[in-house]
Amino acid sequence: MLSREDWLPLARKLDWDYSYVREEEVFPEVISGRPWLPHSEWKDWEESFKTSYREYVDNQYEKDMAVYAVRDAVGRLENFQTLAAPWINSLKVHAAALPLAEFTGVIGNLRGARFGRDSAWRTMATFGALDEYRHTQIPLLLFHQLVRWDSQFDWAHKFYHTNNWFAVAARHFFDELTLGQNAIEFHIATNFILETGFTNLQFVGLASLARESSDHMFERMVTSIQTDEARHAQIGHPVLAVVMKHDPKYVQYLVDKWFWRNWRLFSILTGLSTDYLTALDQRPYSFKEFMEEWIIDQFLRTLEEFGLKKPWYWDIFLDELDIYHHMIYASAYTYRATLWFDFVIPSPAERKWLRQKYPKYWDDMDAVWEQVIERWRTTGTGAANELAVHGTAMPTFCDLCQLPLSAGTPRQNTANVLVQDGRKYIFCSEPCRWIFLQEPERYANHKDIVKRVLSGEAPAQLPNLLTEYFRLTPDTWGTDVHHGNYDWLIARKASVA
């Protein structure tokens, strides 16, 4: 019997020459990806973990047992009920966005497990698929028990099955990234950019936020997921290294495209949690500080290591660090009934903190919050007045990222219109327009929410849009956590009166 050291290299590197089919037929370019290269170019594909299936199962079993132990100790309903209300709403955002997105990662990895160009790559992608399946099941399991307490947690399973505007945006992203993608682009975009660039470190940051918020269950969950990410993210590097040798322009294009697409969703998920939905005294850093310390430095180092350049829109991206998620949060607050979680208005102390952290544009954002507060003061606080402190006009969305036209600054929104082949498109930003123009045939036929309303596919009246199309109900749509009843708002109202 062979020892592990002798057996594993044979099992991991099990490639052979085909005698009655051509290699191009076994690995068609359309699904394996481009550039199409003979296996001789891929045969040195390698990664550092070199795990056997048995070792994988043993490790994952240990990790699952650790998660279950923490769940039994601190993951009961009564533990969640002690958490601060804003943080619980951060959990609802992640509960919806995470599990089924991870499931699309199963599909993407399985494509790599069949159409990856080297056997070691295919082996690793098989483990990646199992990882992502785990990342689907753990949050579904943990959040399911919360549904009987708060039905907004039902969106953990429901979210991607609705036409809620944020679900449309997330599906547009994951359909392209994972479900409908060839193996090469999938592994570069997912492992190298999303995971190495963003989520691997995001999970470290999220675990830290959860710890500060005394949410030890969520902390354990994301830490456990992160250890898997750290392993399967390694698939991307050797794929990228081979493609770099043959078509560096294509790799640069993939980096430019996918960094931006990732940034759009990431800034909303993480930005809102970090700067708004974590209690002020529990924020270890601002979102911008997190990005600068955890994401940007290491991403730039990785690009340099592979001979890649910063994306062409780097200055736009750096500027967005100061403003984009603030624009989104204020917009979403005033359209909170279009979402499945609740919001808070930043308190005077939080606004002071935000001004310190984001001095460049905060004056303009602060004016928006003053106006929202003024509306609560005028209409009166309380649940009955929720919809009087809410937008009534149809918000608008980008034809690429499908997110609200909230880019740029309050002084200068960067939305721009494109007329192409007799149709009009609107984009939130120059990078979204650029991505569209690189592959218009991929994106042109997708309708954003506004176009669906105008074509009669979705209801035009906001209440009908919420209930019939976004699948929300008055019991589950987002409200202000306090319905405007903030001590500081009431105190100021009294002093004004």
Binding site: T334, M365, A367, Q371, G391, L405, S406
Partner: protein
């Protein structure tokens, strides 16, 4: 005929869909956008309207100003003295 337009009010955090009538004046259109955005931006009677990079006369109708479906227009409040 109703014309859907993308309206951007300076000071706001999001663009809004505004349904205009061809016969509406540009001023009425601008007020409609201000009203729709009033939860986030205080109303201001003094404002300019920009379309295609040019200031447009508020007395013109939407049709006379050349605004077409799914165009972008901007409303820029003038600073209060």
């Amino acid at each position: 005929m109703a014309i859907p337009l993308y309206g951007f009010l300076q000071g706001d955090t999001i663009g809004l869909l505004v349904l205009a009538d061809e016969g509406d004046t540009v001023l009425a259109l601008a007020r409609k956008l201000q009203e729709a955005a009033s939860i986030r931006v205080a109303r201001n009677d003094q404002m300019d309207v920009v379309h295609g990079g040019k200031l447009i006369d508020p007395a013109l109708t939407v049709a006379q100003a050349g605004l077409q479906a799914l165009d972008r227009f901007d409303v820029i409040p003038r600073p209060k003295l």
